[in-house]
């Protein structure tokens, strides 16, 4: 038996696949370039919150309108999504590409947000340490780069990937983020608009979106706190789900107080 529900949600004519579990304040979790998975982190967070995990337009089972081309489009789309579900006081969280998306949404409108959690967000590049090339890497290189603990990577590699899903999600990512690669050079100038408590959580050994990016975020965010996980790569939700959940819940509780 699955510990979450999954159903289609229509947002102004675009149907997304949405997974949900738990009860309480809404926590909207936006996935990264690899696609939407119900991970141990989701499960843990669902013990305290109503976790809502949509699959982005163009990924997996979700549709993408032909006109939708950019992260700007997608961030406004998600403001529609939040309104469509009638959510208020949302804890908005996102990982990697989804972390970048989270920041784009929050620079536009925070009125329905309570907190913002950025997990190894793409979107702001550190000139001194470029992102890994997730498009040019082989599947093995990309999988290995997700983890600090290579035995976790090997476990993942032992299972044959769903090639259709992999190719579709890569194309969906490229459509949004090919150039500039996985970043918006204008974003740092708008981070001051995120007027809600913001967590910037990173794995210290991230080889995809390097830890060196974290200070670039902290410089621009007015209400940020940093958290770092040791012996953790890019896939925070897979490598350190318990520690990540603990950091997120204590941040959210602290933000309430």
């Amino acid at each position: 038996m699955s510990d979450f529900t999954e159903e289609p949600v229509d947002v102004r004519g675009t149907t997304l696949s949405v997974q949900q579990a738990g009860a309480g304040e809404p926590l909207l979790f936006l996935h990264g370039a690899g696609g939407r998975n119900w991970t141990a982190l989701h499960k843990k967070l669902a013990e305290s919150y109503r976790v809502i995990a949509p699959e982005h337009p163009g990924f997996g089972r979700s549709q993408i309108p032909e006109w939708m081309l950019s992260m700007a489009d997608l961030s406004l789309f998600y403001l529609d999504f939040i309104e469509r579900l009638g959510l208020e006081g949302v804890h908005l969280a996102g990982h990697s590409l989804g972390g970048w998306l989270t920041a784009e949404i929050a620079t536009r409108n925070t009125s329905r947000l309570k907190t913002v959690s950025l997990l190894a967000p793409a979107g702001v590049a550190a000139p001194e340490e470029p992102f890994g090339d997730i498009f040019l890497w082989t599947p093995e290189q990309a999988t290995r780069a997700q983890f600090f603990d290579q035995s976790l990577a090997e476990k993942r590699l032992a299972v044959a990937p769903d090639l259709d899903l992999l190719l579709q999600n890569k194309a969906a990512t490229a459509r949004l983020a090919w150039n500039p690669r996985l970043a918006n050079p204008q974003l740092p100038y708008w981070l001051h608009r995120i007027d809600k408590p913001t967590l910037v959580l990173w794995g210290r050994q991230d080889r995809i979106v390097p830890f060196a990016c974290q200070p670039h975020w902290l410089k621009g965010l007015p209400h940020a706190q940093a958290a770092t996980l040791d012996e953790c790569g890019h896939a925070i939700h897979n490598e350190k789900p318990d520690a990540a959940a603990e950091r997120m819940t204590s941040f959210i509780k602290g933000a309430k107080a």
């Binding site: 040019l136 082989t138 490229a174």
Partner: protein, 388 residues
């Protein structure tokens, strides 16, 4: 049939042991492998080979565009074409092609082609391509928008050539308030458009549609694929209510002619193997950037290429696939006569300088082809071959 000499202008001095350290000769192979002192001689030699083909009576000479690679030193093929307008007299000059989606101003392509058409006195053939996958890493252009940019750039260029300017063009990717081409091309309504491709059904349908009837060029592919795509072209034409002519089909293939079959095989072997195994080498992720093709075609390529990738090709495996034509003049003549009859193409695009091949061999092969092969191919029937 019409006979064309095609040049890639490879970096023939490439240290082939690069493959011990790098998995590709494209984009990520450091350009320290290029010796700045050797460029001038290479261009002199290659332009000379194209000029020789004109003097030997080839119907056309062909250049092409690739970026950031030892495979071809022509990131700007129109520069070479411009030089050839001054030093050649009769041959068509085919630019096969310009990669339309890679530029942000397609009007500039329309302008350059119009200039070349004027400078050559109406001798150019234009090629419109998307560029291969690796170009999208080199150019930074979004591969998921490649098809729509291609079609939109094509529309803009054709309008620039054929409509009275100034006019406005507003598309999804290209926006101009003033399009007004000076000079206009000499060939009216516009220079011929050829489409070199590995061949997707979509491309073939687009080329063969009766309002376009562009010449479709099958590039460096196994024979059964070329046959299948030529048949598909004829079928699309027939469904569109007209009969496709051989002049609408071209076959591009590496070709080498020497005194005997045995000499040809011995001399060609290292170069053709270097061509396919070293120069035309890239990981699948570079060959197929995300969204460059549909999920289904990308998946198909991944599944089939995985088999190829593990083993190098040899001259014999390549020859069995029909991906190279070589031998004595008689052998090469008979092969082309046979394939023309089976496949019904009207343009043969012979790549006759291959990877590391030295100048003497290239010149010998060109001269033998011109004197002993070409005369037998020229008069081959131009009537359409019946669809299979």
């Amino acid at each position: 049939m019409k006979l064309f000499f095609f040049h890639l202008m490879p970096y023939a001095d490439l240290d082939l042991s690069y493959a011990d350290a790098y998995d590709t000769a494209w984009v990520t192979l450091p350009n320290s492998y290029f010796d700045p002192a050797k460029g001038k001689a290479a261009y002199d030699r290659y332009i000379g080979e194209l000029e020789l083909a004109d003097q030997l009576g080839f119907d056309g000479i062909c250049v092409n565009e690739h970026h950031q690679t030892a495979y071809g030193l022509m990131p700007a093929p129109n520069l070479i074409a411009a030089a050839l307008t001054r030093t050649t007299k009769n041959a068509k000059i085919a630019i096969l092609g310009r990669a339309l989606p890679l530029v942000n101003n397609p009007v500039n392509i329309a302008e350059e082609f119009a200039m070349l058409d004027q400078m050559s006195g109406g001798r150019i053939i234009t090629g419109f391509v998307r560029g291969i996958g690796s170009e999208y890493y080199a150019a930074g252009v979004n591969p998921t928008l490649s098809h729509e940019r291609y079609y939109e750039a094509h529309d803009l260029i054709l309008q620039a050539w054929t409509r009275e300017g100034p006019f406005k063009f507003h598309g999804r990717h290209y926006n101009f308030d003033y399009v007004n081409l000076w000079p206009r091309p000499v060939q009216q309504p516009h220079p011929p458009v050829w489409v070199p491709s590995q061949g997707s059904r979509e491309t073939i349908e687009w080329c063969a549609a009766k309002e376009r009837r562009y010449t479709y060029l099958q590039t460096f592919s196994p024979l059964p694929l070329a046959q299948k795509n030529f048949d598909a072209y004829r079928e699309v034409a027939a469904n569109d209510g007209y009969e496709a002519q051989p002049s609408q089909l071209g076959w591009a293939v590496p070709t080498y002619v020497a005194e005997t079959d045995e000499i040809a095989r011995r001399e060609l072997k290292p170069h053709i193997e270097a061509f396919f195994n070293r120069f035309l080498r890239f990981p699948i992720e570079m060959r197929m950037p995300p969204g460059y093709s549909s999920v289904a075609s990308a998946k198909h390529l991944i599944e089939t290429k995985f088999a190829l990738r593990s083993t190098d090709q040899t001259i014999d495996t390549l020859s069995d696939l029909g991906m190279v034509m070589y031998g004595s003049p008689r052998t090469v003549r008979d092969k082309f006569l046979h394939h023309q009859k089976t496949m019904g193409f009207g343009n043969l695009i012979a790549m006759m300088q291959i990877a590391t091949q030295p100048a003497e061999q290239t010149e010998k092969s060109l001269r033998l082809f011109a004197s002993e092969v070409a005369p037998h191919l020229r008069d081959v029937s131009q009537t359409a071959h019946a669809a299979q």
